[in-house]
Each structure stands twice: as C-alpha cells, then as structure tokens.
C-alpha cells in the first residue's frame, strides 16, 4: 500500500462521509478525547460536517464512510465519494454490512413506508439497504456497531504510514479467553454469538453477564450452522434463532443464509 504522505510538506486530507446511519461511528472520532488534537495535527480534516462548517475541496487522501446506501441519490453520491478518494475505508456495520436498516431487505419496503409515513409518495428510497462495497470498491472495512475507537485510530494511523491495519480477525471467544471471562454458554446456558462473531469489542457482553449479540458481524469462515444446533439444544426456537442472526449485520452473507434457514 502506498503511504498517504505523497508530498512530505502536505498533510494528508481526511474526509468523513455520512450515509444512512446513527452518527455513532463518526462520533467515535470525536470521542477520542485524548487523541483528537494529535489526529488533527497529523491530518488535515478536510470534510467532516458533524464537526465543521468549513469544507476543503477534494481529492481526499483518506475517506472514512459511515452509513449504508439506501436512496438513489446516495447511490450516486457514494460513486462521487469514491471518485474523489485515494483510499476509502468503511466504518461500522451500516457501511460494511448494510446495518439494522437492511432488515427491510427481507420484506417489501413499500409496506415499511406505509407503516411510518402518512404520504408515501413523498418518500424516495431504494428497495434494499446495501453496504458500500456493493456499490463501489473499498480499500478496507472496519466492522462493529459501533466501531471500536482504538481500532479506528489504528486504521487511520496505518493508512497514514502506508501499512495494513492490525485488526485481529478471530472470534469474540478468543477475547473472552484473553480477558479471563467464563464462557456464558458453557457455564450458564446463555445463547451467545461469540463463536461466529468478529473480535473488536473485547468481548464486552459476556463480561456483563449476557451473550454476545453479534454487533461486530461475522468473523472469517464462521460455522453458523453448528452454533444454531447448539442454540436449538439450549431450547431456542427457530424464530428466535432467525432473529439472533438478523440484527445489525443481518445482510452479511453468513448471517443472511443462517437466518433464512431458520425462517418460517
């Protein structure tokens, strides 16, 4: 990977873009209270509407994209973002997987519109909520709902120095073992998505005595079918197994297949 610092005297330009989302992942950057000034010193924050009304024209060296693509206008806009960005990194489950709003993909979106809005013809929306990668090529995807802000700093730093981000690809189970949390499924029979879920949260839920609910999305090659059999053994019904895989990362291939297999 080429370093972002093409000319030694120029600070790389950072842009933060928002599509359909809750703002939480871009807020993660403002939540780096102790590192914010250092980041602002290392890069030129050229486009970040949540933080500033001044806009520096592109092209941008690194674009962080939050949110999923859900409208015809946004489908055009993400192509423009790609065009003006040397590197494009998706941040969070919406941009990476389609987000909770991708639950519409399993239904007829017109029914959804009619449930919320009195005058459906005012609404302009796509049938599906899709991840950025379904629309344009992406250089890196950071998973999580929300993302881990330390991993965000790692990703920004890595792109600044032209190296691959160090973000462990293993499951949440490994994080439980590392922090010494007793397995909630083995010890308490609590259904837990940890075995199939990408690490990054530091196994938060089991440490708070609940099962992982998969907000970081699938790890590499997850064995979802096996986990579903375990869930069945713990007394979960088919509907609840389908619901477990159908949340913030429902539209990722492994979770989508698994939830569909249990849908009645």
């Amino acid at each position: 990977m080429m370093a972002l610092v093409a000319e030694p005297k120029r600070k790389p330009k950072l842009a933060v873009w928002k599509f359909a989302s809750c703002d939480g992942c871009q807020l993660s950057l403002l939540d780096c209270e102790d590192e914010l000034l250092a980041v602002a010193g290392a890069v030129e924050i050229a486009y970040f509407m949540e933080a500033s009304r001044s806009v520096v024209k592109g092209p941008y060296d690194l674009s962080l994209v939050e949110g999923s693509i859900t409208t015809p206008h946004d489908a055009e806009r993400i192509r423009e973002v790609r065009r003006v960005s040397r590197h494009l990194v998706t941040i969070g489950a919406c941009a990476t997987a389609g987000g909770i709003q991708a639950l519409r993909n399993f239904k007829d979106v017109n029914d959804f519109i009619a449930m919320v809005y009195a005058v459906p013809q005012y609404i302009d929306t796509l049938v599906q909520s899709t991840p950025v990668s379904a629309n344009v090529p992406v250089d890196y995807e950071l998973q999580g709902c929300p993302i881990n802000k330390k991993q965000l700093l790692e990703v920004i730093g890595a792109f600044l120095f032209g190296r691959r981000p160090v973000v462990p690809p293993h499951s949440v189970c490994i994080e439980c073992k590392t922090r010494g949390t007793v397995c909630v499924m083995v010890a308490h029979g609590t259904p837990c998505l940890g075995p199939v879920t990408h690490a990054g949260c530091n196994a938060l839920c089991p440490a708070y005595h609940r099962g992982c609910y998969g907000c970081y999305g699938p790890k590499e090659t997850p064995n979802t079918a096996s986990l579903s059999r375990w869930f069945g053994g713990l007394g979960m019904g088919e509907d609840d197994i389908a619901r477990a895989f159908r949340t913030f990362n429902a539209w990722t291939e492994p979770f989508r297949k698994e939830s569909t297999a249990h849908e009645r």
């Binding site: 809750c22 939480g24 206008h73 919320v116 609404i123 929300p146 708070y208 005595h209 609910y213």
Partner: protein, 430 residues
C-alpha cells in the same frame, strides 16, 4: 443589505445528521422558512414489528449514536409498563446515573464542539482551540467524564450493552464506582467554570413566548419519569401523549413534524426542562444559573447553551449523590414476563422528551411501535424562531446572516439522525 433574498444552507454543519435550511425574504418579509431533512430513512418503527420485546432497547439504541441511553430507557420503561412491572430502588437510581452520564457527554459535545464556535466566530472547535485551548480541553475532558460513566455502567460509550428490560445485566460493586466519583468532583468544578464561560458570550435579545413541554416529577429534576406538563396548561400522564400531540408528514422532510392538537408549535429540551423545573435543581445549579444572569424561566433560545451548562453541573452533582448512596441491589434486574398490552415510555433525552409506544402480544412479540424523538417535536419551533429572527437582522451581510441562522438552528442541538423518521439550512437571495 437588500430586503429581498434567500438564505440557503445545503448541508448544515455541526449537527447530528443530514439537513439543510431555506429562508426566503421578499420586500423585507420572510415568505418561507423550511428545515429540510434529507437524512435517509431507516424505518425503525416498521422493523421493530415481529421482534421480541426484550430486543427493543438494543435495536432502538441504533437510532442515535449520541443519545442511545435515551432510547434504551424510553423503550425499556415502555415494555415494563406493558408488562405491569416497576423498576425501583437502586436499579432506578442506577438508571438515573447512566442517564446523567449521557447528559454530560451529549451536552459537553454540543456546548464546546458544536455550538461555542458560533458565539466566538469560528468554523469549528479545532480552530477555536487555537485561541481558547484551556476551554477546549475542559470541554473534551468533561465529555470524557460523561462517556466514562456510560462506559463503566453500560460497557461502552456508544450503544452500551448493559441496559435491559427490567434493569441491567450486571451491576457493579460499590468500589468500581469510586474512580468515577473522583472524576466527577473535577467535572463539577469544570461544569461551574463552563457556566461562567458561556455566560460571557454575546446573546441577541430574542425572548419568545413558547409553550414549554417537559416531564415534571414531584421531587426530582426530571430524567426518567414524571408527568408531561407545560407552562400553558398541559398536565398529563405519559400514556395520554397521543391524545394531545400529533405528527404530520410534510413534503420537504423525511422527519415528521409534531404539534399540540388544537394548538401549535411547542418546545422540548433543556430550555423547557429548566423553565418548568427550576426549583428541582440543586442549590448550586440554581445559584450558578442566577450568577449567569438567568431567572427561573429562560425564553431566549440562544441562551440554551447556558442552560445546557447548568444541566451539566446538575448532572455531575446528581451523579455524585447517587454514587455516594449506592448499595448494590441483590439482583441486577427484575423479571419481566410478557403479557398482551400497550406500553408507554417517555424520558428526558439530552434534547428533550423522547416518547415510545409499543403494543406487544402475549408472547412478547412487538406488533406495533411508535417513536417520537425530541428533534421532530422541535422542528416547527425552530422554523418559527427563524421566521421571527431573520426580519430583525436583514441589515446584516448575507454570509453573516446565514451564520446567524445556522446558529439559531443549532440552539436546539438538532439530532437529525433521530428525527428521520429530520434537517436541511438554505437562506436564498432573490
């Protein structure tokens, strides 16, 4: 300056979410004001149908990354009401504590990073930091203390994992809260300094005759419960919300506008909470407000930044009180068994009253959901403010007037992500 123009802001900065503003002036009169919401739709009320009642706090949290606790609290309490369960004692206090953390985090973000640059003439907080470094650092550290409360109690700052219907998954031992208490003591002083700092900002004379709507509780500053009251005769139980308020769908907006039935625009949020509950603030918070030049009612929306700062101070004191009195409950939650019925929840999000209504069946499956966020309730009031504000300042150059209009919108700390189910500033010149 010409007496005909259009002020237009395509994409409002330093607010949460995507919106813009248009103000059209002809012959010295404001012909049109519209906040346009182009934040894309996410259909939460529809996608909640068919989900289990216990899933509502985690799913609705995803409406807003800035105030997830508000969504978790309103939804959890609505479900508990539907199931005939009350959460009280230490668990209730613990809910109040985590909510204090969210107020501190969200208010500090708005006061220092989003709104103060307007008053001091900067494009953003980083630019402001070059001249006001101490204030900027104080703001960040205050925000951090709020975030730490949420993270210790909830697991993480954004979309915490520990809130559930019936209480919490895990409650901490008393000593786990001790480090928070130390930081809160610093934060209390920093909050007082914040009130003093913002009180020195320049404020336009802009007192308005609002209908304030907020929760009111017999003996507490409202956070999680109370009756919905106003300064114009409203006094209802939360469950009667739908009898009194209606949402309307307008073309330019992906948010629904709220209004009092048979009435008009109303205002929720810090100004309303404060003006309806001044005597429920701690003595120190009341004193700080008076020293900053506020009376028991504040009708100038530009002074919302002072009120938010007073609320940060209150939240720090309240959090300290709760931590000092904390004894871990025997169980982290009470059992909630589903039954068919309706449940209503309304809590005071940092931006104002957040209403949830659910109908669940006997299996606990959600059959119908309705969510009314503070920003959609305030949208009409924001527009009315602009309609009155712009004619007073037509002598300003357009760029300056546009800034002032943006500032007037940011008075409300609008959260567009929430209201979409909400915001765009355009001022056009004809």
């Amino acid at each position: 300056m010409s007496d005909s123009m259009t002020i237009k802001v395509d994409y409002l900065a330093r607010v949460e979410g995507e919106g813009g503003l248009v103000v059209r002036v002809r012959d010295g009169r404001v012909r049109e004001v519209s906040l346009n919401i182009f934040e894309p739709l996410r259909f939460f009320e529809a996608l909640l149908r068919g989900r289990r009642f216990i899933e509502a706090p985690d799913i609705t949290a995803r409406i807003c990354g800035i105030c997830p606790i508000a969504y978790q609290m309103s939804s959890a309490q609505a479900m508990e009401q539907a199931c005939g369960v009350t959460v009280d004692g230490q668990l209730r206090a613990f809910r109040r504590l985590i909510y204090c953390g969210e107020w501190i985090e969200s208010h500090a973000l708005h006061v220092y990073l989003l709104h103060a640059p307007d008053f001091l003439g900067y494009e953003n907080a980083l630019q402001m930091a070059k001249d006001h470094g101490d204030a900027f650092q104080r703001g960040l550290q205050l925000k951090k203390v709020g975030n730490e409360i949420v993270a210790v109690l909830g697991g993480r700052e954004i979309h915490p994992v520990n809130v559930r219907v019936g209480g919490f998954y895990r409650v901490p031992a008393k000593q786990e809260l001790a480090p928070l208490a130390e930081k809160l003591e610093w934060a209390r002083d920093a909050a007082l300094e914040t009130v003093r700092w913002v009180a020195t900002f320049p404020f336009p004379d802009f007192e308005q005759d609002y209908e304030f709507v907020a929760l009111r509780h017999p003996d507490e500053y409202p956070v999680n419960e109370g009756r919905l009251v106003s300064n114009k005769g409203l006094d209802i139980a939360v469950g009667d919300y739908d009898d009194q308020f209606a949402e309307e769908h307008v073309r330019r907006s992906n948010a629904l506008h709220s209004a009092r039935k048979g009435g008009g625009a109303y205002l929720v949020g810090p100004l309303a909470r404060y003006s309806l509950n001044f005597n429920r603030l701690t003595p120190a918070a009341q004193e700080a407000a008076r020293s900053a030049g506020l009376g028991p009612v504040c009708s100038n929306p530009f002074k919302g930044i002072i009120v938010r700062s007073v609320e940060i101070l209150y939240a720090c004191e309240e959090a300290l009180r709760i931590i000092e009195a904390y004894e871990p409950p025997e169980r982290p939650f009470v059992d909630v068994r589903p039954r068919a019925g309706m449940g209503y929840g309304c809590t005071e999000a940092p931006r104002g009253a957040l209403y949830h209504r659910y109908r669940i069946d006997e299996e606990g499956v959600i059959r119908d959901a309705r969510i009314v966020p503070p920003t959609s309730q305030n949208q009409r009031t924001v527009e009315e403010d602009l309609r009155r504000f712009v004619p007073l300042h037509l002598d300003l150059p357009r760029e300056e007037l546009t800034r002032r209009c943006e500032q007037a919108v940011r008075n409300y700390d609008p959260c567009i992500s929430c209201a979409t189910h909400f915001l765009k500033v355009t001022v056009e010149k004809e």
